[in-house]
């Protein structure tokens, strides 16, 4: 029983990361109708930046906000320079290739600057793990969960309580109508890419001490996050969070309890989830169904 509870807790902790990267994917998908396969690597790059700022002697409390700010600009710039021209000509294959190109480029640039030697990223929160009933959770993981909750609340506030958030939702619902009403459609696009990058950098910097900070650190995570976003519905932020937590728990339980899957074969679970959702419920749990009027 204790093992089960611990596995569920570990699954939730892993799921929080999947949820956060899935949120980034969803934010971009809602405005650009595009799954940005470079999203995980952008986040890893952000973690490297945090490490670099810290290595230059800045405390984490300065290094982390600094790399988050750089990420916002980088995400926004990527949309402006690489994505927008192709989006305007509806070149979907081109967009897909650009995302792959950014992924490969980032991997190489990271390797070129920082090498493949694993970097040691300090924890934000030090100290002995905290006991939750019979289970244990590290202080860093508490911070990670808190960060994810904070991101979710901030996004909820942005979408539901601000004028700009209303414009973001309207623009992703019906772009031509949003343009007719004079809503700042292109600004919502750029902002979404910036925010997606911010979420990635924040979470990647926080999980870097647990993972191994090296090029491609979040490649496996991206796979789980795509599964999470597919499960939750690609255009639903709530779905991304629920999907991330479910994928985290299922993956952990399957790895522990299903014979033959084990730790090495766990990634197949993500593919299995994607396949099942696409076949049984393509719009996901919370996504909007696309109805084509003929």
């Amino acid at each position: 029983m204790t093992v089960l509870l611990q596995q569920i807790l570990d699954g939730l902790t892993a799921g929080v990361l999947y949820a956060a990267i899935a949120l980034s994917l969803v934010l971009v998908y809602r405005t650009s109708k595009l799954v940005n396969f470079a999203q995980g690597e952008l986040a890893t790059f952000g973690a490297f930046l945090t490490w670099q700022f810290h290595d230059w002697g800045l405390p984490l409390s300065v290094a982390l906000p600094a790399s988050v700010a750089v990420s916002f600009v980088a995400g926004a710039l990527m949309e402006r320079t690489l994505i927008r021209p192709l989006l305007e000509s509806s070149n979907h294959l081109g967009l897909f290739i650009v995302c792959l190109g950014v992924l490969v480029t980032l991997l190489q640039v990271e390797a070129w600057i920082w090498g493949y030697q694993v970097k040691e990223m300090p924890n934000v929160a030090e100290g002995p793990p905290i006991a939750l009933g019979p289970t244990m959770i590290s202080r860093q993981n508490v911070v990670i969960i808190a960060a994810c909750v904070l991101i979710a609340v901030a996004l909820w506030f942005l979408f539901q309580r601000t004028r700009f958030g209303l414009a973001m939702r309207a623009a992703s619902d019906n772009t031509p109508s949003a343009n007719l009403l004079g809503l700042p459609v292109t600004a919502t696009l750029t902002f979404s890419w910036g925010i997606a990058a911010v979420i990635g950098t924040l979470m990647a910097s926080l999980v870097a001490p647990n993972q191994f900070l090296q090029p491609g650190m979040l490649l496996p995570v991206l796979l789980y996050s795509v599964a999470a976003a597919t499960l939750g519905g690609l255009d639903s932020p709530v779905g991304a969070i629920v999907g991330g937590l479910v994928v985290g728990v299922v993956e952990n339980l399957a790895g522990t309890y299903v014979p033959g899957i084990g730790q090495d074969f766990k990634q197949a679970v993500a593919f299995a989830i994607i396949m099942i959702v696409l076949l049984a419920r393509p719009q996901g749990l919370f996504g909007s169904r696309t109805v084509v009027r003929v």
């Binding site: 004028r163 209303l166 031509p176 109508s177 004079g182 809503l183």
Partner: protein, 236 residues
């Protein structure tokens, strides 16, 4: 002087030319209807006027150019409220959020009082203000689309086939509302329609469009008596 003056407007999609040298004027405070069959170019004309598609020629609203200012200029900021074909409401937003999006450029205090005004004018929208727009009936969606466009306080309201998909009874109610909007707000309305019968009843001026060309402007009353129109559109 006309509120909207259009001269030699040409527009199309890619290599396909749809509008040929369209010229006409819309008088302030009038309802002007453009009648025409499917594919005559009526929607294209409205899209060109609100900058959804590129166009050549000139169109001026109160002396300000509205055509030929680049692709991303906003019709709303130039004083044009465009209710597109198929209504274009935001289905995943509530009724109230749709209306707030329509008033995006106006000061908050004005938006609040306008909201109340439209809930009074369309009580159905007031009852459903917290519901998602996707749950509304066709008639309610059309009301919402019109109210949303008017939340931006336009000088000119463009309506693209509002009767599409509505029952004759609902269309009648809707057109009565349009007449009331014109009279109460002194709104200038440019309406394109296939339903000649009802639209000629509320319109002041009327033009007929066919194959991308526009006929001369006539009074709606005059056009109602026109034998050819009666045969073509009124089923007489």
């Amino acid at each position: 002087m006309s509120l909207l003056t259009v001269e030699n407007l040409c527009a199309g999609y890619g290599g396909l030319r749809v509008l040929f040298d369209v010229s006409f004027g819309v008088e302030e405070g009038n309802i002007t209807v453009i009648l025409g069959a499917n594919g005559a170019g009526k929607s294209t004309l409205l899209r060109a006027l609100s900058g959804m598609i590129p166009a050549t020629g000139t169109a001026t609203l109160e002396g300000r150019r509205v055509v030929g200012r680049g692709r991303h200029r906003s019709a709303a900021r130039l004083g044009i409220g465009h209710v597109p074909e198929g209504r274009g409401t935001f289905g995943s937003l509530t009724v109230e959020e749709n209306l707030r999006a329509g008033g995006y450029h106006r000061p908050r205090s004005e938006v609040e009082s306008s909201l109340e005004g439209w809930y009074e004018f369309f009580p159905r929208l007031g009852e459903r203000r917290r519901q998602l727009a996707s749950g509304l009936s066709g008639g309610e969606q059309q009301m919402l689309a019109i109210a949303r466009a008017l939340m931006g306080k336009p000088r000119l309201l463009l309506l693209d086939e509002p009767s599409l998909g509505l029952s004759p009874k609902l269309t009648g109610t809707l057109f009565t509302s349009l007449r009331a909007i014109k009279e109460r707000l002194d709104m200038t309305i440019l309406l394109v329609e296939q339903n000649a019968h009802l639209s000629l009843e509320i319109a002041d001026d009327a033009l007929v469009m066919s194959a991308g060309r526009l006929g001369p402007k006539q009074s709606a009353a005059e056009l109602r008596q026109d034998q050819q129109i009666q045969r073509a559109y009124l089923g007489a």
